[in-house]
């Protein structure tokens, strides 16, 4: 018998006194961890298949289940962690590229947590958002540098197209295929009710969701899946995906096995064929080439929709963003290295890219230095976890944020980071009909609406505390921020002073 070089990550703990052997856990677990043995009348758990998604714990009517970290440990070693050792064992066994999901889980600094917000005291008094109007509406797109007049002296109100958002939060690009139809429906309906936008990702737009078009950003990636006239016409904006924070420099690859009937129709490719979106757009090797695609999309949509260019936050992000701002794009979306994904090579996810906080600060500063900040709006993504992160992002220079992981959490995701298996017990990152139906879009969309409403209210509270009544007045207002426990270089990049200064 082969040796088990590595042990299960988790241990299923069942309180036998509480368990009533209702077998709900067995029916719910797509990983087949739980089963009932009729012969001995016992519930049996196979811990090694467990991904700690917490579905069984949530469903157990008597609270009999707990998932704990496996107390078994390899000999402690500050250099060779159990995780790294296990990865070596796995690769020695299979010869495969390690594949993971969701955002970078490593212990890199989270700069949001090292930035503190200001509040007014005595002078410039705080504003009570319950009593006074607070403005969180934003318009994304080009902002004219100066007022133009018509020949008769009236003001020229012919402005470039913008995206109007009731609050500076949007749902990140997640394709139909990477997440379920019910998840997409929840996002689309929530975006519509909230007056914000969700993003199709690169998997096309399901025919049932065209009605949510005014609150939809349609994505165009290198594979151009599902991109055609109606699709471009349907969206409120078009996003060119150049890169993704979870896997900068890596393309997308949805294996043929996942291209089922409905996904095939939406992506407009035959069932069972691989959907390959290579890392580069092979027609774009320069900013000039990018400009060509930006303007071909503007031509195709009659210059009525803003064009977004999405990139991953990488080392030269400021220079790249400057190029994008000059390419004619209306909005730049920057995705930090903690951004989620349905599947990414582990080594890429964990080692490539830079934190969004630093990328944002340097891009905003660069565009200001070059006098082109008004040419584009900046949307950031890559782990915005709370309304406080949103406020800090805006103060660092963002016009709006994308939330992906937080939105999935609202839908029930427990961050087990096993999306790539396609067996999501919460009905989100799966296409299995029996699992998809667990996510009720009727409930899902309301939870998303609740989340964004709550954040919007908190944003107003924080702005009010600073004596600011409009998100426009917060944008790039770095005086509202102070660093805590940061080095001089970090403070310099962030463009903020240290707490106490």
């Amino acid at each position: 018998m082969a040796l088990n070089y590595y042990q299960p990550l988790y241990e299923v703990i069942r309180d036998k006194d509480r368990c009533i052997k209702c077998q709900a856990c067995a029916r719910q677990c797509a990983n087949e961890v739980h089963r009932y043995d009729g012969e001995y009348d016992v519930m049996i758990s196979d811990s090694k298949s467990c991904v700690d998604c917490q579905r069984c714990v949530a469903i157990c009517p008597t609270g009999a289940l707990k998932i704990a970290n496996n107390p078994n440990t390899f000999r402690e070693n500050a250099n060779w962690s159990s995780q790294i050792m296990t990865e070596v064992y796995k690769q020695a066994e299979t010869g495969g590229v390690l594949l993971s999901a969701m955002g970078n889980p490593k212990e890199y600094p989270v700069y949001w947590d090292k930035i503190l917000l200001n509040a007014s005291q005595v002078t410039n008094p705080p504003i009570d958002p319950l009593r006074e109007p607070m403005e969180t509406k934003v318009f994304l797109g080009k902002k004219p540098k100066n007022v133009k007049f018509n020949k008769d002296g009236s003001v020229n109100t012919d402005l470039p197209p913008t995206l109007e958002l009731s609050t500076p939060i949007m749902f990140s690009a997640m394709s139909y295929g990477s997440i379920s139809k019910n998840a997409h429906e929840s996002l689309a309906r929530a975006a519509t009710e909230l007056g914000i936008c969700y993003n199709t990702g690169e998997g096309g737009l399901h025919k049932d969701f065209y009605k949510y078009g005014p609150n939809t950003i349609v994505q165009v990636a290198s594979g151009r899946f599902g991109v055609f006239r109606d699709y471009l016409d349907a969206g409120a904006a078009v996003e060119i995906k150049m890169g993704q924070g979870a896997k900068p420099g890596i393309g997308g690859h949805l294996p043929g096995a996942k291209i089922l009937e409905d996904i095939s129709r939406t992506r407009m490719i035959p069932m069972g064929t691989d959907a390959i979106s290579p890392a580069p757009h092979h027609d774009i090797y320069s900013i000039e080439d990018l400009r060509q695609l930006v303007f071909s999309l503007k031509e195709a949509t009659g210059y009525k929709k803003p064009i977004i260019v999405k990139i991953a936050a990488v080392h030269n992000v400021a220079a790249i963003a400057s190029g994008i701002a000059r390419s004619g794009a209306d909005i730049i979306a920057i995705d930090g290295y903690r951004g989620g994904t349905g599947a990414a090579p582990t080594r890429i996810r964990d080692n490539v890219g830079i934190p969004i906080e630093l990328a944002l600060a340097s891009v905003d500063q660069r565009l200001r230095d070059e006098g082109i900040r008004n040419e584009v709006s900046i949307v950031i993504a890559g782990s915005v976890r709370s309304s406080a992160d949103v406020v800090k992002a805006i103060a660092l220079g963002a016009d709006a944020v994308y939330i992906g992981t937080a939105a999935l959490l609202a839908l029930g995701c427990h961050l087990c980071r096993s999306c790539q298996t396609g067996k999501c017990n919460w009905g989100i990152a799966t296409q299995r009909p029996d699992l998809v139906k667990r996510l009720n879009p009727e409930i899902g969309y309301k939870r998303l609406v609740n989340l964004v409403h709550a954040w919007d209210h908190e944003i107003k509270e924080m702005m009010g505390g600073m004596g600011i009544n409009s998100v426009e007045a917060l944008r790039g207002n770095r005086l509202m921020l102070r660093g805590i426990g940061l080095t001089d270089t970090e403070l310099e990049v962030l463009g903020i002073r240290h707490a106490g200064q």
Partner: protein, 241 residues
């Protein structure tokens, strides 16, 4: 309607073309203006001169005929229609096109038919009269590409890395020798008569457009390239939870 493109920038030119109610439009003196016929449907556009990049991008059922050469990215993400070029064209011809036809009388550049895909009744076709550059049919997922190699009978009419990443569709190359250095994901065999039936209609149409003898061309040797697996990129992944 006749539109004179002389000294008109692409923005104004395309507004004129889009704003024109006529189904048949002739555009004269075109000199590098981009995006001509971008997203057009139900039109018959004749271009005299040299249109710029992204001619007929997102084309959705129009016919564009160019009397002259064309540049890069013609028929980018085209959904339906026809583009006929009485000359040569540049790189990424038919990028991700999903249906319709592109006929090029002369040569074409790099990455012709890249990401070309098909879906049910949508089936894209590219027929090149002369030779093409490197990366023909890169990532091709469906549809058909024919390279006739007229005028380069003594050499293979395609460049290097032909069919790299190909995972669907067909490439037909009229040549006495197979392309060199094909990637492992591509099968190459001599086309027999039943294979040639697949391209007969398009070769005949090509010849009708440009005045060649279809019978003569079809009687030559063709190589047929197909993907040898539906999953060229199926690396062995190891789940790392």
């Amino acid at each position: 309607m006749v539109i004179n493109a002389e000294e008109v920038g692409y923005f104004d030119l395309n507004r004129k073309i889009i704003g024109c109610d006529d189904d048949e439009i002739k555009v004269e003196n075109v000199m590098g203006q981009r995006y001509v016929g971008c997203g057009a449907s139900g039109k018959k556009i004749t271009v005299e001169g040299i249109p710029g990049n992204a001619l007929g991008a997102y084309l959705d059922g129009s016919t564009i005929t160019v009397y002259g050469n064309a540049q890069d990215a013609i028929g980018d993400t085209m959904n339906d229609g026809e583009i006929i070029v009485h000359g040569s064209c540049g790189d990424t011809t038919g990028y991700a096109m999903r249906s319709g036809k592109i006929y090029i009388k002369g040569n074409a550049g790099y990455r012709v038919g890249i990401h070309m895909k098909e879906y049910k009744e949508l089936y894209p076709k590219i027929i090149i009269g002369g030779k093409v550059g490197d990366f023909l049919g890169e990532y091709q997922a469906g549809g058909i590409i024919v390279v006739l190699g007229i005028g380069c009978e003594n050499d293979v009419p395609v460049g290097s890395f032909c069919g790299t990443g190909m995972h669907g569709g067909y490439i037909f190359i009229r040549s006495d020798q197979p392309p060199r250095g094909l990637p492992i994901q591509v099968c190459c065999e001599t086309a027999d008569d039943s294979d040639k039936e697949l391209i007969k209609e398009y070769v005949e149409e090509f010849c009708a457009n440009f005045g060649y003898n279809a019978k003569e061309l079809l009687s030559s040797r063709f190589y047929k390239l197909t993907p040898n697996t539906a999953s060229p990129y199926k690396q062995l992944y190891t789940e790392n939870l």
